[in-house]
């Protein structure tokens, strides 16, 4: 059995950010993820917004970690070479009464230390956000809001953590934890792990994992969010991220865009019972369209090219991050819903501090690789740079995905970096994410994946075992 100082359960943004932070130190660390790839749980359906820290009450963990995380994200994005765009957000008020609430939000934001908050009026809005509804009365402008690719963020954290010695185990589901002193004995679907400390960052299943060590005083309630993506042709429909005033359950129906340039509308906020319920509904679409049109009337349902649903892991009003004193060495990081993506780097620092206080020695490594070799995406670079790339490696000129301009080289790189499924390739490269939804490139991608991972074509899956793309190979009889 392998022995570790820290085992992190959960390979979403929180688990991987913690892994990357702890990889600075002389520690034996393993990260366990039950899915076939990282980010396949809560993180994959994240909106990708790096929030400024507005909309939280002063004194909340969410507010504090969001403001810290926003600044840290910017720094880390530069270290890890991920595309982060600081586009700014507008929280829009439609009448006097809403304006009063907006002023309170501004006060709360300032108390939390959100930088640059500013009230803007109608004429400012008309000039800087011309497609915003002319019924908009005023808005709170938060310049530090930004956008990032949530799954690439996870992959970058993990890749850098791995380069610094962290073991990443996918398809490794924790089944049992024995809190034997001085080490935990962890039984998984892929064997036994022994560790002095456990960090439970298992998202929707944080309550189930916590219950394994006898801590059962919180429950994760999945709160569904349905999101709808618009065609990239509408990329410039807005300049900022647009928010209505928040309700108790959520930040409302937003008009945002992904870091790849697709406008996105949503999400809904529906409490559900089933931790696997990722279905979208007609009612969800109607609700989102109605909300989005209130902000930007020219949004058209015909521009929708994709949709998905995600589940926020809710455990009460605030994040739940604490050492469980009854089970020495066990740290719960639960209820990390919005603004969890933003807060993740700050959560990582907080968890490192908790572990240190509980006796984990944090001794810095002499050599810590803080940078990561960036991948290249043809869709993200100017044509002249693409020219140089293709000259260096002819495979960059071999286009596989026509809608998003993804080359065979990028697909092979993604697999070398850990993609094992068709969804994994999509998240990393955008191949299949365009307007044809893989109708044209699926067969080519399957062949590359099969070749690189030495899997037969019938074994190629969408996201896990059981989601094979085809049932039978007539050419080989498989």
């Amino acid at each position: 059995m392998n022995k570790y100082d820290v085992v992190i359960i959960g390979g979403g943004v929180v688990g991987t950010a913690i892994a990357r932070e702890l990889s600075r130190y002389h520690l034996a660390i393993a990260l366990l993820e039950k899915e076939t790839e990282l980010a396949f749980g809560v993180s994959k359906s994240n909106s990708g917004i790096i929030h400024p820290g507005t909309q939280h009450t002063p004194g909340s963990l969410k507010g504090k970690l969001c403001v810290q995380g926003n600044a840290l994200t910017k720094k880390l994005a530069r270290e890890l070479y991920i595309d982060f765009k600081e586009v700014g957000e507008l929280i829009v008020a439609f009448n006097e009464e809403e304006l009063m609430r907006l002023l309170q939000l501004k006060k709360d934001g300032q108390a939390l230390g959100v930088p640059g908050l500013k009230m803007v009026d109608r004429s400012w809005l008309r000039k800087h956000e011309p497609n915003l509804s002319d019924k908009a009365f005023a808005a709170l402008y938060a310049p530090t809001a930004g956008i990032i690719s949530p799954y690439r963020w996870v992959y970058d954290f993990a890749e850098n953590a791995k380069a610094n010695g962290v073991e990443i185990h996918t398809e490794t589901k924790v089944e049992k934890i024995l809190p034997a002193q001085p080490r935990f004995e962890i039984t998984t679907s892929k064997g036994e792990f022994s560790s002095r400390y456990i960090v439970n960052a298992s998202g929707l299943h944080a309550d189930d994992v916590s219950r394994m060590v006898g801590v059962a005083d919180f429950k994760i309630t999945p709160r569904k969010g349905q999101e709808f993506l618009l065609d990239k042709k509408r990329e410039h429909i807005t300049n900022h991220l647009l928010f209505p005033l928040p309700s108790k359950a959520s930040k409302g129906i937003l008009v945002t865009r992904t870091s790849d340039g697709n406008p996105m509308i949503g999400p809904t906020a529906e409490d559900v019972d089933d931790k696997e319920d990722l279905s979208t509904t007609e009612a969800g679409l109607d609700k989102v369209l109605e909300g989005a049109k209130k902000l930007v009337p020219s949004i058209d349902g015909n521009d929708i090219i994709a949709y998905f649903a995600g589940l926020r892991p809710v455990a009460g009003d605030d994040f739940l991050i604490r050492h469980e004193d009854r089970v020495s060495g066990f740290v719960n990081v639960a209820g990390i819903q919005s603004p969890g993506l933003t807060a993740a780097p700050a959560i990582a620092l907080m968890v490192a501090e908790i572990l240190k206080r509980r006796g984990l020695e944090l001794k810095r490594k002499l050599i810590f690789h803080k940078h990561r070799k960036p991948e290249r995406h043809l869709f993200a670079i100017p044509l002249d740079d693409a020219k140089r790339l293709i000259k260096k490696d002819a495979n960059y000129g071999d286009i596989v995905c026509r809608c998003e301009m993804v080359s065979a080289k990028e697909v092979r790189d993604a697999i070398a970096r850990g993609a094992r499924t068709m969804d994994g390739i999509k998240f990393r490269t955008r191949a299949q994410a365009g307007r044809c939804h893989g109708s044209f490139c699926t067969t080519r991608l399957m062949k590359i994946l099969s070749e690189e991972t030495k899997t037969p074509l019938v074994g190629v899956t969408k996201r896990c075992k059981g989601s094979e793309i085809v049932k039978k190979d007539r050419t080989s009889g498989q």
Partner: protein
């Protein structure tokens, strides 16, 4: 940058017919760009018969129909065929940039014929709710998997929509030993050709549910079932009429859209509802010297008519070049 008299984008039936016709009408310097590794376009995966009845007065398969043009175009002097060539940019002045393994090239054309075909509408465009498991395919992708790759996508199939590719795939799946459990069409009649309804559906006793819609696709990792209900005149679900059909595969055949993102980039006026160029006469666009033919001009029912109209596009481009000289 290289200058050419005529550049044709697309090496399917439309592009080949247009290039050959332009050559026959006196154009001597033609570059034909095809993104795939072979000519013929989507005809290559249409292994069924029924092509060429009008144009050749013969019954051919898709690959046979394409082959007639491939054999004709290849020996023609004055037409350069560039395969695996992917156009990424098009400007108003007919300058286009394309990638090829190993290089990026820029070419300016006196006249341009776009024959970029069409794509299928996706599940997302018709907003079908439910989960997103493996096993949901466009009918054309399923056709490619079976006919080109020799892979069988699934064994129990429900087809949403009754477009021609869907009908043809109903027969194809049945011949491959799969069970096609239903075709669900929201309209009151098929949107495919009568001959396909007869030869691909009725002859194989495949149940068709007209005035029905799929409410939901279900299944966590792989499709498990669809939920279907009667659709009223407003196309909404009629309450109390829903039922389930177990299946492992869902095909979408709900319509085709011309692929015109490149000419849109160049500033050609596009009809937002159909994605076709706004045009006074066939093959002509709002930018002089940029012609569009085949399924990227409008979605045709028969390849024979694509050939005839695309030959006209070649002639129009030749006349345009003559005038510009």
């Amino acid at each position: 940058m290289v200058n050419r008299e005529l550049v044709v984008v697309g090496g399917g039936p439309a592009g080949m017919a247009a290039a050959i016709s332009a050559r026959e009408n006196g154009v001597k310097d033609i570059l034909l760009l095809e993104r795939d590794q072979y000519l013929g376009g989507l005809l290559n995966q249409c292994v069924h018969t029924g092509f060429g009845i009008d144009y050749f007065k013969e019954i051919l398969t898709g690959p046979e129909y394409a082959d007639r043009f491939i054999k004709k175009i290849k020996p023609l002097s004055g037409i350069e065929i560039s395969l695996r060539s992917f156009v990424v940019r098009l400007a108003k002045d007919r300058t286009l940039t394309y990638l090829k393994p190993g290089g990026i090239h820029t070419v300016n054309a006196k006249a341009l014929i776009m024959a970029t075909g069409c794509r299928e509408k996706t599940r997302e465009m018709v907003h079908i709710p439910g989960t997103r498991p493996a096993g949901v395919f466009s009918a054309g992708l399923a056709q490619k998997l079976i006919n080109i790759e020799g892979l069988l996508p699934g064994k129990e199939v429900v087809i949403i929509g009754s477009g021609d590719i869907g009908l043809i795939m109903a027969r194809r799946f049945t011949l491959e030993g799969a069970k096609v459990k239903a075709i669900i069409e929201i309209q009151e009649r098929s949107r495919g050709l009568l001959r396909n309804m007869v030869q691909c559906v009725e002859d194989f006793d495949i149940p068709v549910y007209f005035n029905h819609k799929v409410l939901k696709i279900c299944g966590a990792d792989r499709v498990e079932k669809v939920i279907v209900a009667k659709a009223g005149e407003d196309l909404k679900e009629t309450p109390g009429t829903s039922f389930e059909i177990a299946c492992d595969t869902v095909l979408l055949s709900v319509g085709l859209i011309p692929e015109n993102e490149l000419i849109e980039m160049a500033g050609v006026a596009i009809d937002k509802a159909t994605n076709s160029p706004i045009s006074k006469e066939v093959n002509v666009t709002s930018i002089p010297g940029i012609f569009v033919c085949g399924n990227s001009y409008k979605v045709y029912d028969y390849v024979d008519s694509v050939t005839v109209d695309s030959e006209l596009a070649g002639k129009l481009a030749a006349e345009y070049i003559k005038k510009a000289r």
